[in-house]
């Protein structure tokens, strides 16, 4: 129970950067993103992804576009923007140093 609570709180803080990291490899449509995040245990269902995408879109971190080239109904692809890329770089730096500090502390406390 405690583990789940800690994991939930940590995921909340990093989820949007995980989305940016996934999109930094190329654009993806909503369900593709959702499935990837669900498989990694970062979200429970698609219902958590679209609200997050709404905020990221509002803040100019991601950009959607319709793609009607396939056979079925048009898909909505999301791509990372320049601002999104900057945010991801900044996060990567913070995460690397933070993770190192936390790891060192945890090593020391064992």
């Amino acid at each position: 129970m405690t583990e789940e609570r800690i994991a939930t709180n940590l995921r909340k803080g990093v989820l949007e950067y995980c989305v940016l990291a996934l999109l930094s490899h190329g654009e993806k449509y909503g369900l593709e993103l959702a499935d990837d995040l669900t498989t990694r245990g970062l979200i429970a269902s698609e219902g958590s992804l679209y609200p997050l995408l709404a905020r990221m879109r509002e803040n100019g971190l991601v950009e959607p576009r319709w793609d009607a080239s396939g056979t079925g109904r048009p898909r909505r692809y999301y791509a990372i923007t320049d601002d999104g890329t900057d945010q991801l770089k900044a996060f990567a730096q913070v995460w690397t140093s933070l993770a190192a500090e936390v790891n060192a502390l945890l090593e020391g406390s064992r």
């Binding site: 909503g30 879109r57 803040n59 109904r73």
Partner: protein, 319 residues
């Protein structure tokens, strides 16, 4: 991540169901979801709402391509209430919005009740030419009871708030029409009752954004009501129909139309007119003092309620 295989498995058709019927059923699940979600996202700007609904449309299409049924697609999103709650939370709306409406209206009801108490205790008997003695302490206290009733919902714990607001609205309405030992002055507390009813109703009808057209039209009609009644009174011969009366009526009708159209600033104008009417009737109470007072209270209530309910959503500040 590897590109997901987009198998186009056909879902098993029920016996007796033809393909077009099934397609129609699938489309109706999606339409129902979009309609419900759209209604619940009215607090967002049209651009924000359209973008979220586009995500939902795309989700149903992508889920169908992946061989999932519309039921499964809807299940993945969660029920529309929860889904839209998450969207609003992410975009920095709620849950404080409706709470703020209630709080402002309830404090206003309390403030108006205190003002009314002062008016009926000190100013009214004086200007009416009653035999005026310094009012006794018990009279002052008695006149402050409605203010105590109005403030009560603010003081109770949050879980008892709605029931306390409802109780306060009922009690204030009854008190406003009650006559205790020739104390007709209690009629003046009706505006406090109106504001308390508004505190109960407005947060509910505006919880998903701008209230539905029916509510806005009702507010528009109430806006034009006092001026229209004045005009009718004039036409019936109770007083002269001056150019001023006609112009006021036309102005209120226009304001009523703007309110019905959902312009929030029209509510602020209306509330200011309401306050002006109440103050006017306080300073020079004539024969129609109660009528003007009630009209002022009504316009203040409708104006503030409308301005709060139709206020443009705040843009998110979260980055």
């Amino acid at each position: 991540m590897t590109e997901e295989t987009t198998t186009t498995e056909k879902t098993t058709m029920n016996e007796g169901t033809t393909m077009p019927e099934e397609t129609e059923m699938n489309a109706s699940i999606e339409r129902a979801y979009l309609r419900d979600a759209g209604k619940r996202l009215k607090a967002l700007t049209p651009e924000q709402r359209d973008a979220v609904l586009d995500d939902v449309r795309a989700h149903f299409a992508e889920a169908a391509d992946a061989g999932r049924s519309p039921e499964q697609a809807a299940e993945g999103l969660g029920d529309p209430a929860t889904f839209t709650e998450r969207v609003r939370a992410e975009l920095g709306h709620e849950p404080g919005r409706t709470d703020r409406m209630w709080r402002i209206l309830q404090w206003l009801a309390t403030g108006v009740a205190v003002f009314t108490a002062m008016f009926v205790t000190y100013l009214l008997p004086d200007t009416r030419g009653d035999e005026f003695d310094e009012p006794g302490f018990e009279i002052v206290l008695l006149h402050l009871v409605p203010a105590l009733i109005a403030v009560l919902p603010i003081l109770v714990p949050a879980r008892a708030r709605r029931i306390a607001t409802m109780a306060a609205a009922i009690v204030l309405t009854v008190v406003s029409f009650a006559v205790f030992e020739n104390m007709y002055d209690l009629y003046f507390f009706l505006p406090s009752a109106m504001l308390t009813w508004a505190a109960l109703i407005v947060p509910v009808i505006a919880r998903n954004g701008r209230p539905a057209a029916g509510w806005r039209i009702t507010a528009g009609v109430l806006t034009a009501l006092p001026a229209s009644l004045a005009l009718v009174g004039g036409l019936a011969g109770s007083w002269d129909v001056t150019v001023e009366v006609v112009l006021y009526t036309v102005a209120f009708l226009l304001l009523g139309v703007l309110i019905a159209l959902g312009k929030s600033w029209a509510g602020i104008v209306l509330a200011a007119v309401g306050v002006a009417l109440v103050i006017e009737s306080t300073l020079s109470p004539g024969l129609l003092v109660l009528g003007v007072w009630w009209a002022g209270g009504l316009l203040l209530t409708v104006g503030v309620s409308h301005a709060l309910a139709c206020a443009r959503p705040r843009k998110t500040a979260r980055a």
